[in-house]
């Protein structure tokens, strides 16, 4: 019962809860939303224990939806999507709690949108029908568009529409590619089906068309990741979004792009993806992302913008891990995805807390505040170190695995990427120094409040995860290993067969 209903419950509950939030009085909205998101988390937690790593796709629910077009409602998770789902349900309650003080207008609308967004995000990660996936992929745009556009900073309108149009552009081309793929496979096999399992099993003679289809998928996911040079929407969206929006954007939404590569772009078009020129090109773009993101982050006066560019660099690591396509690098990429969600999420929370105290995001507005707010300073230090990838924090494990795995297929790329870790230290440590260490020379910083219990409640789980994954990542790696291994092997095998038969 639980195994069939859980994913659908995770999809449906936030929508129901959003409707409840809209109905309750304004001042209760945030509490109801928090309770609802905690319930959502509670529903998802048993997945961790009941998940059987070797069993492949599980918690399957497969119902007909629009039979005339071969569209089904198929949801399931495997070792790749499980962690994305858990990351989402874990970050949402924290984001809701983190918005308690920040969001002061139209609270009902805000929290209802947060919950609706949760549904869309989970939907993207659990859909195994390309139609359902596409619908979820698009639907989650709207709540985020509103969250940025209504509750964002000064240039929120610009950031919101930029975010929307970039993503919309990529995803519509993907839509045509999905349709072309289904109709091609349908012409050959006589069955028109949007089912992921069916399509991956009948990829036989796509021929040169596969190149164009892959291009469309690539564009949609690369914009979402975002890969250099498609990243320009990200700094705007991150900076203008309210704290919770930034956290969800960095923590979950960016992972949809990398998840899309793992789930769809690679398995559907293995021959194209492993074509040497394309693979090398994408690895090169990932490296540019790592180095460029780091270098640009170095010169940012705005703390949120710095974090935004650091995301470009981190996601470059993920892309490198995916496209190096060894077991270790893919596991590393998955781990970096989780870590980035935790560490960068925590960084955005801290940036938001600083902003709530001083109403400034500029790094130079602070200085020496470690004396005034020791707890906040300590948290910021730990999180920054984990983002840099210091050993014994989560950041180290993921990036190390990526480098280790990538070294086997792309040794030179791995060396350049390792330099990227140093760049990370070069932009985060000075920023850290300027914010919390340097002399306390600004009188307005002398009376800052330290962390409130609510803020401690937000940061404590994140810090716990940082240490836990840094010290003992084995439970996570064990759960993702069969899925990652299966992906790497099947993609390499398919690529070999398709290339040979061509």
């Amino acid at each position: 019962m639980y195994s069939q209903a859980v994913l659908t419950a995770l999809l449906a509950w936030p929508v129901v809860a959003a409707a409840i939030v809209l109905l309750v009085p304004e001042r209760w909205a945030k509490h109801v939303a928090l309770a609802a998101s905690l319930v959502e988390f509670a529903i998802s937690v048993p997945l961790w224990w009941t998940f059987r790593p070797a069993a492949g796709m599980q918690f399957v629910l497969d119902l007909p939806w629009i039979p005339a077009w071969g569209i089904r409602y198929t949801v399931a998770v495997d070792g790749i999507s499980l962690f994305m789902v858990l990351l989402t349900t874990f970050l949402v309650p924290l984001s809701v709690l983190g918005s308690y003080a920040y969001i002061t207008t139209r609270e009902r609308g805000f929290y209802a949108l947060m919950l609706a967004l949760t549904s869309g995000m989970i939907g993207v990660f659990v859909s195994l029908d390309l139609f359902l996936f596409y619908v979820m992929w698009e639907v989650m745009l709207i709540p985020m568009y509103f969250i940025i556009g209504v509750w964002g900073g000064e240039r929120r309108l610009y950031a919101a529409i930029k975010f929307f149009i970039y993503t919309f552009f990529g995803s519509l081309l993907m839509l045509v590619a999905i349709l072309a793929l289904v109709s091609l496979v349908g012409h050959q096999t006589g069955v028109y089906s949007f089912s992921y399992a069916y399509l991956t099993a009948h990829l036989g003679g796509l021929g040169p068309t596969a190149f164009w289809l892959f291009g469309a998928f690539f564009l949609a996911f690369a914009i979402k990741v975002p890969m250099f040079p498609f990243h320009t929407w990200l700094p705007d969206a991150h900076v203008e979004a309210p704290t919770a929006g930034s956290v969800i954007l960095a923590g979950v939404l960016l992972k949809m792009g990398t998840y899309g590569f793992l789930r769809f772009a690679l398995p559907l078009f293995p021959a194209v993806a492993l074509h040497p020129a394309i693979q090398t090109g994408i690895v090169a773009l990932s490296l540019i992302g790592i180095v460029y993101g780091g270098l640009v982050a170095m010169v940012q006066p705005d703390f949120k913008k710095l974090i935004a560019y650091s995301s470009v660099a981190h996601l470059g690591f993920v892309m490198l891990g995916i496209w190096a396509l060894t077991l270790q690098s893919v596991q590393g990429a998955l781990l970096v995805m989780i870590n980035h969600g935790i560490s960068t999420g925590a960084l955005f929370f801290l940036a938001g807390m600083l902003y709530e105290r001083r109403h400034s995001r500029l790094i130079d507005a602070f200085g020496g505040i470690a004396k005034v707010v020791p707890l906040l300073a300590a948290a910021l230090t730990i999180v920054s170190l984990s983002s840099i990838g210091l050993p014994a924090t989560n950041g180290f494990v993921g990036e190390f695995l990526v480098l280790l795995g990538a070294f086997r297929t792309y040794p030179r790329a791995a060396i350049v990427a390792a330099a990227g870790v140093i760049v990370a230290a070069m932009y985060l440590l000075p920023a850290l120094q300027r914010v919390i260490y340097n002399p306390l020379d600004k009188p307005e910083n002398e009376k800052l409040r330290d962390l409130s219990p609510r803020e401690i409640a937000i940061l404590a789980p994140l810090l716990a995860c940082i240490v836990w994954i840094g010290v003992y990542p084995a439970p996570i790696l064990r759960r993702m290993e069969p899925a990652a291994k299966n992906l790497v092997q099947s993609v390499r095998l398919d690529a070999a067969t398709f290339t040979a038969t061509r």
């Binding site: 309108l157 919309f168 081309l173 349709l179």
Partner: protein, 502 residues
């Protein structure tokens, strides 16, 4: 039920909807001859019209229920599901327009009950036009519809813009009719018949696919229809006419008139010229030009009504893609899209009429600022309309667009599909600002929306349309099945009939 159309009784049965509507029109004419002075008289005429439309609908349903078919194909009027479904569409659009008009006419002081008579006759014309199996019937229907709509466009005699719109529409419409009629004459010259089935048979048996006379005749037919559906480059009249006509009439023109022209176009092309490949590249280019120009010019509009006018040109482009896809999937997609588009456009124009007082032509997009705060339900309805026009998943607009894309990719028109989605991205640039203004910008001054008023009947229409859009967006199965079984399928005697243009 097999009808032998050579006998009077069966012919009357086949024409039952048209006869019912004629009777209703004459009845309303009689009623208004005696009662045409007060607002109450106007309402009476409106209710009689609604009853007439309902009776017509019942007649259509009766024929559809008995699966009426014509026993001997070459006849003046088609008896097939495509006709019944399009009839239902026209009747629905007319009924909704009547409901929206109730308040509008009283508010604007247009105490002219002839309005309803003209509406009935225009609808009758559409039904003849879309059901005509003979070019002469198509032409007669088109003229009946056009003449009625010319008058409707200028029914507000106090408005200079309406007079301009009516005159422009009349002059260009007459011009288009001339093209159409000359095309019919040339086709007659080449094939010695005006019956669609016989044209196809003649073209085949005499191998007229390259005959200059037939091709020129076909070209002139396309020009005539191009004017009626407002395809670029024959669209020049549309923005001014849509802009100047009373808003409910604009909604009627943008939906029912366009739907009728498309239904007739598809029937003529598929049944009469299925073997003549020459029209496919022409329609292909018309579609591309219409989508590109319509969307780009709409982007530059600041006033809502004019923006909607250009957007309806863009939608004609999407519909032309369905025509270019041709045959079964294409005409089914056309039906689904027309249905979704009719609901959303009628609702959007009804909402616009509610916002504007005296002269809703002047409502700029920025004048909607803060509407989301002041009138949440109205704003929500308008937001859903904009998303549906954009083709966003979860709304019927997406299902329509999806179906057109499916049809296009099935017929190997992937390039056309790609152009469709790229121009859709452009359309986000003018639909989203409406949502943005409503929700993300503050009210320009207090009581800026005090004049917003939507009548009860119009409110019901909007609510029904919006709910319909959302329900069909999630559960379109019924509509899809209906469209599939009602598509025009011409038995292909030669394989050449299925050859595609490019």
């Amino acid at each position: 039920m097999n009808l032998d159309l050579t006998t009077t009784g069966d012919l009357a049965r086949a024409l039952l909807p048209e006869l019912t509507l004629t009777a209703a029109g004459l009845l309303v004419l009689l009623v208004t001859a005696w009662r045409h002075t007060s607002a109450r008289d106007l309402r009476i005429a409106g209710w009689v019209t609604l009853a007439g439309l309902a009776a017509g609908g019942a007649a259509v349903w009766w024929l559809w229920w008995h699966t009426a078919r014509s026993a001997a194909p070459p006849s003046m009027i088609a008896v097939d599901d495509f006709r019944f479904v399009t009839d239902a569409l026209f009747l629905t659009a007319a009924g909704l327009t009547v409901l929206v008009s109730f308040d509008y006419l009283e508010r604007e002081g247009l105490l002219v009950p002839e309005y309803y008579v003209l509406l009935l006759f225009a609808t009758l014309g559409m039904m003849l036009m879309a059901g005509g199996e003979d070019l002469m019937v198509v032409f007669l229907g088109l003229e009946l519809m056009s003449v009625s709509v010319y008058v409707l466009a200028g029914i507000n005699r106090k408005s200079g813009a309406a007079a301009e719109a009516a005159l422009k529409y009349f002059l260009l419409g007459a011009f288009a009719s001339g093209f159409l009629l000359y095309g019919i004459a040339l086709v007659y010259g080449a094939t010695a018949t005006t019956n669609l089935t016989q044209i196809a048979a003649q073209a085949r048996s005499l191998s007229l696919a390259q005959s200059p006379m037939l091709l020129i005749g076909l070209g002139l037919l396309l020009v005539g229809f191009g004017f009626k559906v407002a395809a670029v480059p024959f669209h020049m009249w549309a923005p001014d006419v849509y802009d100047g006509a009373p808003t409910p009439v604009t909604g009627y023109m943008a939906t029912a008139v366009k739907a009728a022209a498309f239904a007739a176009l598809v029937r003529v092309l598929l049944e009469g010229f299925g073997d003549v490949a020459a029209w496919r590249p022409i329609v292909w280019w018309l579609a591309v030009a219409t989508m590109v120009v319509g969307n780009l010019i709409a982007l530059a509009q600041r006033r809502v009504k004019r923006m909607l006018a250009y957007s309806s040109i863009a939608h004609a482009g999407y519909l032309l893609v369905a025509v270019a896809a041709g045959m079964g999937p294409g005409s089914a997609a056309l039906l689904v899209y027309l249905f979704a588009y009719t609901l959303v456009t009628l609702a959007a124009f009804a909402l616009l009429a509610a916002k504007g007082r005296d002269d809703e032509r002047e409502v700029r997009i920025d004048d909607l600022a803060g509407l989301g705060h002041r009138r949440p339900w109205l704003a929500l309805a308008l937001a859903v309309c904009m998303l549906s026009l954009l083709g966003f998943p979860g709304t019927a607009g997406f299902i329509g667009k999806w179906y057109i894309l499916v049809a296009a990719t099935l017929m190997h028109q992937t390039v056309l599909a790609a152009i469709l989605v790229l121009t859709s991205v452009v359309s986000a640039g003018y639909y989203l600002p409406v949502i943005m203004a409503m929700y993300m910008k503050p009210e320009p001054f207090d009581q800026a929306h005090a004049g917003v008023h939507i009548g009860r009947a119009a409110g019901v229409v909007v609510a029904a349309c919006v709910v319909g859009l959302l329900v069909l967006g999630i559960r379109p199965n019924g509509l899809l099945d209906l469209a599939r079984t009602s598509a025009i399928v011409v038995p292909a005697p030669t394989p050449a009939a299925t050859a595609t243009g490019r």
